[in-house]
């Protein structure tokens, strides 16, 4: 009896459970859709789904890191739009392309740094801070683009969207690559451990000698960087720059990340889980499109799932604590 309950109580096994369930869900969706729609299983469709997922997956990776550290980032969509907008605008102004790319990436780091600064120095809640920076950055984007959609880029850059490596879209591979790097960072490095520790209990981390504020800066800047990369991927994929890019991202990404097993309070999380969550979302969306259903059902379902998942987690948490108290 005791052995069984102890198995359940390892964080690794409970995380594995979630991944397993999520993986099964995805497989299920794929099976159902392949029955319902012949076009679903075509190579063209599947690679299109993978491509379309790429920028949101990057945002999900970024948000996972921030949530694990105990923070919250609503500005992810705006940062993504900013890097694309800067890219276009600066290039049109005649700046050499490789410098443009660097500046676009730096803009993400800068916004992340601003977020971290406000959270750390004034001890403000990350939700409100990133809510504010989300709108500040968004209106900077509008201001840069003045409502126009830009479509003037070096062909070589945009053609990256057509590159396939072993028949898999390059864009998706970039996502996978980033995911691998971040997973290694979180699981195997010292700073990754510090991020988990901070999210689990910031005071404990501080008293154990961790420079909590420095790590917050690192986390938000890294998140900003990844979101900026996402912006570039987005630009490549649609071959244009849209001022409204990523405007729905916070909800979709946060829902996927929470479904994937990352706790909203921090200390627990999985990049793989978040990606599986995004995959599920996109498979569903794809399914809706192919079957002719209104795609806006997507965000309705997302809203319901969000409330349900977080609610369940809370209920499970209190159930688990009660069980633990009794079992001791």
């Amino acid at each position: 009896m005791r052995k069984r309950s102890e198995k359940v109580l390892s964080p690794v096994t409970s995380q594995r459970k979630i991944l397993y369930v999520l993986g099964m869900v995805n497989v299920l969706i794929i099976i159902i859709l392949s029955f319902l729609s012949p076009t679903f299983t075509t190579y063209g469709n599947l690679t299109a789904v993978l491509s379309r997922m790429s920028e949101l997956s990057m945002l999900a990776i970024a948000e996972t890191i921030v949530l694990i550290s105990g923070g919250f980032d609503l500005s992810i969509g705006s940062i993504m739009a900013l890097s694309g907008a800067l890219c276009g605008k600066l290039y049109v102004m005649g700046i050499p392309f490789h410098i443009v790319l660097i500046l676009a990436l730096l803009s993400g780091v800068a916004v992340g740094g601003l977020n971290a600064f406000l959270v750390v120095s004034l001890n403000l809640q990350p939700f409100i801070v990133t809510l504010a920076t989300m709108s500040i950055v968004r209106s900077i984007v509008y201001g840069i683009l003045k409502g126009i959609v830009l479509a003037d880029f070096p062909e070589k850059f945009l053609d990256l969207g057509y590159v396939y490596v072993f028949k898999i879209p390059l864009l998706f591979l970039i996502v996978v690559g980033t995911a691998v790097v971040i997973i290694i960072l979180l699981k195997k490095t010292v700073i990754g451990r510090y991020i988990f520790a901070m999210g689990a209990n910031e005071r404990t981390a501080y008293l154990s000698g961790i420079f909590v504020n420095r790590i917050k800066f690192f986390v938000y800047c890294l998140s900003g960087l990844i979101c900026a990369i996402a912006g570039l991927l987005f630009t490549i994929r649609i071959r244009a720059i849209i001022p409204d890019a990523g405007i729905n991202a916070p909800l979709e990404v946060i829902t996927a990340v929470l479904i994937g097993g990352t706790a909203i309070t921090g200390g627990k999380g999985s990049v793989l889980g978040s990606l599986l969550g995004i995959l599920a979302m996109y498979l569903l969306l794809n399914g809706f499109n192919l079957l002719g259903l209104n795609p806006f059902w997507n965000i309705i379902i997302l809203g319901i799932i969000l409330i349900y998942v977080v609610g369940q987690e809370n209920i499970l948490k209190s159930l688990r604590q009660r069980r633990l108290i009794q079992s001791r």
């Binding site: 406000l118 989300m134 209106s139």
Partner: protein, 332 residues
């Protein structure tokens, strides 16, 4: 001498007599609203010099509509934030009320059925928010983030993205001339009265200040929280109705960004984001400020999207001031 700092026993100060039972109001007004009032007046003066026609009648109508809609939504948001909660779905409820309620216009329903229907939708959606928040142990932030998108998604599914147009002329009344201001004034007066003079209103401060103490004292916390979200929904619907008037069409994208503007108005107006302190009057002034900036900048042909920038910066300044005030208080 005791080492630990305690406030000195100053009987004379405590005994200061103040005959007026509205001492609390006076004090709050003295501290919080005055600076904003000055900013607002200053802004009006500046704008009227910079742009021709700022004080013209036509512009007045635009400003009046804008300030009223933001103002009314913000008043609802104030009540929610006072209790320590937040409502991100106000814009979505506004849109839902006028779009779904507006289907009645499409079907030829008379205005005296359409308007109540819109209000009813606002109440219903607010009720859903309140129900979920008080029953599920999930932060209001997450719940209203979820419902915001459930409502918006539902709007898109039902309307299929189509605008509702044309709108019969008698719907213009709510949006023309000083009518929006009148509505705002009535709502403002009503809720200032409620928050200053009714048990419900005063208890909101208790719930936000120390929910545990409120529970201990037998304040019906759960019911009051429910009511607050219903009010927020109702006022969002009302604001939507004003928005419809005179614009000639109803679009599914209505109300986008209203949650941000409302939160900004509330925070700028001196209400603490943590709950427990603040004033409806302050929020009103905050929304006037934002409305003026919006209108003024439009007139100056500045890209309207800069509004988000300014709003965001104002929010950060306001909550920083709030946070600093809290820090100072804690230090002693």
């Amino acid at each position: 001498m005791k080492l630990f700092k305690t406030n000195s026993n100053d009987d004379s100060r405590d005994a200061r007599q103040d005959k007026n039972g509205f001492a609390a109001l006076k004090r709050v007004f003295q501290i919080r609203e005055l600076p904003i009032l000055l900013y607002v007046l200053g802004l009006i003066v500046v704008f009227s010099f910079i742009t021709k026609g700022f004080l013209s009648i036509k512009n007045f109508e635009n400003i009046s509509r804008q300030i009223s809609t933001i103002g009314i939504v913000s008043i609802g948001m104030t009540l929610v934030i006072l209790t320590g909660g937040i409502d991100l779905s106000v814009g979505a409820i506004l849109s839902f009320a006028i779009n779904i309620g507006g289907q009645g216009i499409v079907h030829g329903w008379p205005i005296w059925i359409v308007y109540p229907f819109m209000l009813f939708l606002g109440i219903a959606l607010g009720w859903i928010n309140g129900f979920l928040i008080t029953r599920i142990n999930v932060p209001a932030l997450i719940i209203t983030l979820g419902t915001m998108n459930i409502y918006r998604g539902t709007i898109m599914v039902i309307t299929e993205g189509k605008y509702i147009t044309p709108i019969p002329h008698h719907y213009n009344f709510l949006g023309s001339g000083i009518v929006p201001f009148v509505v705002l004034a009535v709502v403002l007066a009503l809720f200032i009265f409620i928050t200053l003079n009714t048990r419900f209103g005063r208890n909101l401060f208790a719930i936000g200040g120390s929910e545990l103490s409120a529970v201990y004292s037998g304040v019906p916390v759960r019911q009051f929280k429910m009511i607050v979200y219903v009010i927020s929904g109702l006022l969002s619907a009302l604001a939507g109705m004003i928005l419809v008037g005179k614009s000639g069409f109803i679009q599914p994208q209505a109300g986008i960004g209203y949650e941000l503007n409302a939160i900004a108005a509330v925070v700028i107006g001196g209400t603490s984001i943590f709950g427990g302190s603040g004033s409806v009057l302050g929020t009103f002034l905050g929304s006037v400020l934002i409305g003026l900036i919006l209108a003024g900048l439009t007139m100056m042909a500045v890209n309207p999207y800069w509004i988000g920038l300014i709003t965001g910066i104002l929010i950060i300044l306001a909550i920083s001031a709030d946070a600093i005030r809290v820090l100072k208080k804690a230090k002693g």
